[in-house]
Structure formats: structure tokens, C-alpha cells
């Protein structure tokens, strides 16, 4: 299996690479049988150089999927692709149906109402759409939903929401957050809007992220991708399922801290409560902690701060000051 090492003297690196591409393409995009796999395994076993060339293409392909922003520029899509053609046919068909339906009914279908939903401080709310899609609002969140016929649109005006979308190509589901548009491609995702930035994390499936008014190509985000968009800059990182699940603790009414600084933990609690935690000194702010707390249980948190870190906690009206 690992016998051959340098059988490459006669064959150039470029030839090997061409063969590797051909194998990878066949395996990835064409019908693939057990016999094919046996043949591929043989070819791979012939030389380490074969294996390496194959890995290299595989790596590049996987890589391009995670970072993919591969849609052709809009200027070149003048010839309708099959997809848009199909969509156009569907829309035309829907239009015909709408004309057949009585006038009042058609008027209702064609002018769907925007509905507003909100969750107050420390509250949560779940919105269910007719198609089974679900939106969970976290504390201090406001959004509007237009559950229309050609498209489903949500405006996240403030706060944080978790989206579990029934994917439907004919009725795209788009969330608009300031300048950014997030379009579902079969997905569960969470979006948090803060004053100066937007954070999008994909829990399952994929979404497409676009920025309005720029020529930037859309970015495709997959499971585990977390994007923070601030102004016109976007940074992306990939996080473990566990980290993302922790960030979604609020769906069960908890906050989960892992190596979280006291300052960050205080900010997190302050999103949910009227009484605000205040951390006075930089040295206290930098202490890190782990733990899971109910979002409303500030007292439990301050007890930990007292007991574990030996800090001083003082209630001053609606402020709870933590200091040395």
C-alpha cells in the first residue's frame, strides 16, 4: 500500500496533477461506482506523488467551498441561467393564478402586510410563519416580517434573532440588517445587531451575505462560519459547533461563559436586565471565568464573583458595582 515512493522520474508533476484532477472530477461530479473507487485506490497507491496531488486538489476544492464567494459578476449574467428562467416561469405561473383568483383575493395576495414583532428586556418570543419557518427573538429585539408571495423578507431593526427557515427557492427568505442582506440557502442561522456591527453565525446549511450599494460580491457562509460586519469591513472565522451552541444559550434562557472576561460577562447580563452590572477597574475586567447562568440571575453571578474571585459587590440603585 505504501510501497512506491519516487516513481515520478519519468512522469512530470504536471502530468500527475492532470491525472489527479481527472480522478477528483470523476469522483466528485460523475456517477461513481465501487469499481471506480477500487481503480482510484489503485492509482493512489501507485505513488505518494499521486496521493499528494489528489490531496492538494481536494484541499483547494474544500477550501473554496468554505470561503466561497463564487457567483459570477452581475454584468455577465445577462443570459438567463436555467435557475432564473425556471424562477421566471414560476412567477409567470403564479401571476396567472393570481389573475384567476377573485379580485379582492388577488389584492390581498399581492399586498401582504408587514407585521412587527418585539421582545422586551429579558424577554423572548417565537414567531411562526405559515410555511413552518420560525424566528426566535432574544431580549430587546425588534423586527418586521413581510411574509409575501414572491419573497419572504425580515427587517431586523435591533437585537438578536435565531432563524430556522423552510427553504423554498420560489420564495427566497431574506433578512435585512442595515446595509446587509442575508439570504437563506437552506438554513438555521442567528443574527445579532449591535450599534456598530452585525454578527451572523450559521448553525446549519448555508446563507448568502450581501452588502447593499457596493460592488462586493456576495459571500457564502456555511455551517460554523461566523461573520462580523462593521461598516464596510467584514471579518470571518470558523467556530466549533459547541462554541456556536453556547452563544445560542439564550434560546434556553441561559448565558454560557467559556474563558469569558468579567467585562464581557457583565455586558452580556446587562442585555437582559434592568439592573446593570458595572465593572470598575481594568484588572477586574480582565479576569476570566466559565459557567452557565440564567439570564435573569444576576445575583448568582455576583455571588460567584464574591466567592471565587474575592471581589467586592455593592448595590447602588439600579447599578451593581463590582470592584476589588
Amino acid at each position: 500500500m505504501i510501497e512506491a515512493t519516487r516513481t515520478n522520474d519519468a512522469i512530470s508533476a504536471a502530468d500527475i496533477e492532470a491525472n489527479a484532477a481527472s480522478w477528483f472530477r470523476r469522483r466528485q461530479f460523475w456517477a461513481w461506482s465501487e469499481a471506480d473507487q477500487i481503480e482510484l485506490d489503485k492509482w493512489l497507491a501507485q505513488s505518494l506523488a499521486h496521493r499528494i496531488a489528489y490531496w492538494r486538489l481536494q484541499g483547494a476544492w474544500e477550501h473554496s467551498g468554505r470561503l466561497a464567494a463564487l457567483r459570477p459578476p452581475a454584468s455577465e449574467s445577462n443570459a438567463p441561467s436555467g435557475n432564473t428562467l425556471k424562477a421566471a416561469v414560476k412567477i409567470a405561473a403564479m401571476a396567472v393564478v393570481a389573475i384567476v383568483i377573485s379580485a379582492s383575493m388577488a389584492a390581498y395576495v399581492l399586498t401582504p402586510r408587514e407585521k412587527a414583532y418585539a421582545a422586551g428586556l429579558g424577554q423572548r418570543q417565537t414567531v411562526r410563519l405559515a410555511d413552518g419557518s420560525q424566528i426566535e427573538l432574544n431580549t430587546n429585539t425588534a423586527l418586521r416580517v413581510l411574509d409575501g408571495a414572491p419573497a419572504r423578507t425580515v427587517w431586523l431593526d435591533k437585537g438578536e434573532a435565531f432563524f430556522e427557515v423552510r427553504h423554498d427557492i420560489a420564495r427566497p427568505f431574506t433578512v435585512i440588517v442595515g446595509e446587509h442582506r442575508v439570504t437563506d440557502l437552506g438554513t438555521k442561522f442567528v443574527i445579532r445587531r449591535d450599534v456598530d456591527h452585525v454578527k451572523i453565525a450559521v448553525v446549519e446549511g448555508r446563507v448568502r451575505l450581501e452588502e447593499q450599494g457596493t460592488t462586493q460580491r456576495p459571500a457564502l457562509l456555511s455551517r460554523g462560519d461566523v461573520v462580523v460586519a462593521s461598516g464596510h469591513t467584514i471579518s470571518m472565522l470558523n467556530r466549533s459547533t459547541r462554541d456556536i451552541a453556547n452563544d445560542l444559550g439564550w434560546r434556553h434562557g441561559v448565558v454560557v461563559f467559556r474563558h469569558t472576561t468579567l467585562a464581557e460577562a457583565a455586558d452580556e447580563f446587562n442585555r437582559y436586565n434592568n439592573d446593570k452590572l458595572v465593572v470598575t477597574s481594568a484588572s477586574v475586567a480582565k479576569l476570566t471565568m466559565n459557567g452557565t447562568f440564567r439570564t435573569s440571575e444576576i445575583r448568582q453571578f455576583t455571588e460567584v464573583a464574591q466567592a471565587v474571585f474575592g471581589l467586592h459587590v455593592e448595590n447602588r440603585g439600579h447599578e451593581i458595582v463590582i470592584s476589588r
Binding site: M1, I2, E3, T5, R6, N8, S12, A13, A14, I16, E17, A18, A21, S22, F24, R25, R26, Q28, F29, W30, E39, K42, W43, A45, Q46, L48, A49, R51, I52, A53, W55, R56, L57, Q58, G59, A60, W61, E62, H63, S64, G65, L67, A68, A69, L70, R71, P72, E76, S81, G82, N83, R217, A219, L220, V228, T233, I234, S235, M236, L237
Partner: protein, 199 residues
Amino acid sequence: MGRVAGPSETGKDAEFLENAAANMAEVGAWFIQEVFPLEAALMQFLHHNWRNAGDIADLRQDIYLRVCEVAMKQIPRPAKPFVFAIARNLLIDRVRRAQIIPIDAVADLDALGVPVDEPGPDRGVAARAELRRLQAAIDRLPPRCREAVVLARIDGLTGRQIAQRMGVTESAVSHHLDYGLRALADMLYGETAEPRRPK
């Protein structure tokens, strides 16, 4: 595709093969995660230190081979200093072995240092740079090739579906995809700023 002179499949051999396969998968994952991302720096190093640009692709392959042989025994960590040490030794060997290579083939043997790891940009910056790089790579593909790659990568179509969608033969799709795959790897890992001309 050729014959294999492998050991016969008795119980021991099967166990050996299983272990070897597991090990191989681990080495493959290590290459994808840690070695190929060094390729841009490695190619720069080779271009800088080797006069004959025509040799570079084969040099790279030989470096990867040596790296792989060692990794199969034990995966070296961290990867970077190890890969560059292998590269340096290989260049020195080549000069010593082949007397037909003029002495100035290698610019300066003593200066074949390993590029220093500078404090990296934060992950966000790196991810943005990667994203730009990928976009640029896609943009530079020939239009039909790009269309095939996008249909495969974004829409997840099979070869046959791509052929139907583009209204071309399946062998034309194969050609586009093969070329696109290789060009993507080259541009992503930084060998060339431009894709090769399609043959």
C-alpha cells in the same frame, strides 16, 4: 490504471493495511490543513533560490514527497520550519548531485534561510485576504470554465447537469472542471497569479 504489487490480503496484512489507511488519512488532513497553505511562501522561496523556473513544479513535488515520507512515520509539528528545512536540503542535494547545473543555479546556498514567521494578521484579516484571493482566482478563470466551476461549487450540480445547463458535451464539462480545479489550487495556494493557458 496500472498494477499494484501489494502484500496479499491475509489477516495480518488486512490489519496492516487498515492502520496504514488510517495513518494516510491523517497525513492527508495534515497536508490540507498545514502544508498546502505554506505553498505560496514555498514557491516564493523556490523562485528566489532556483534559476530554472521550468524545474519548480517538479521541485515542489519532490519536496512534498519527502515531507510526506517523514509525516507517515510521525507528523512534524510545527509544519513550517520542517517544510522549509526539507526544501533547503533538497536544493542543496540537487546542486551537489547534478554537475550540469551551473553553480549559480542556486542564488546563495548559505542564504537559504527559512522565512521568519512574522506575527500573523488576526484571523479576520487573513480570512478577508483569503476571500479576496479566491474571488480573484474565480474572476481569472476563462468564462466557460468559470461557469462550470460555479455551477459545480455553488449550485452543487453534477457533471451531467452542468452539461445540460450549459448546453455542451460532457467531455467539454470535464475539460472545464479539470482545468478549473487545477487553476483554483494554483491560485489559492499561490503558485501563480495567473492561471495556465488552457491546452
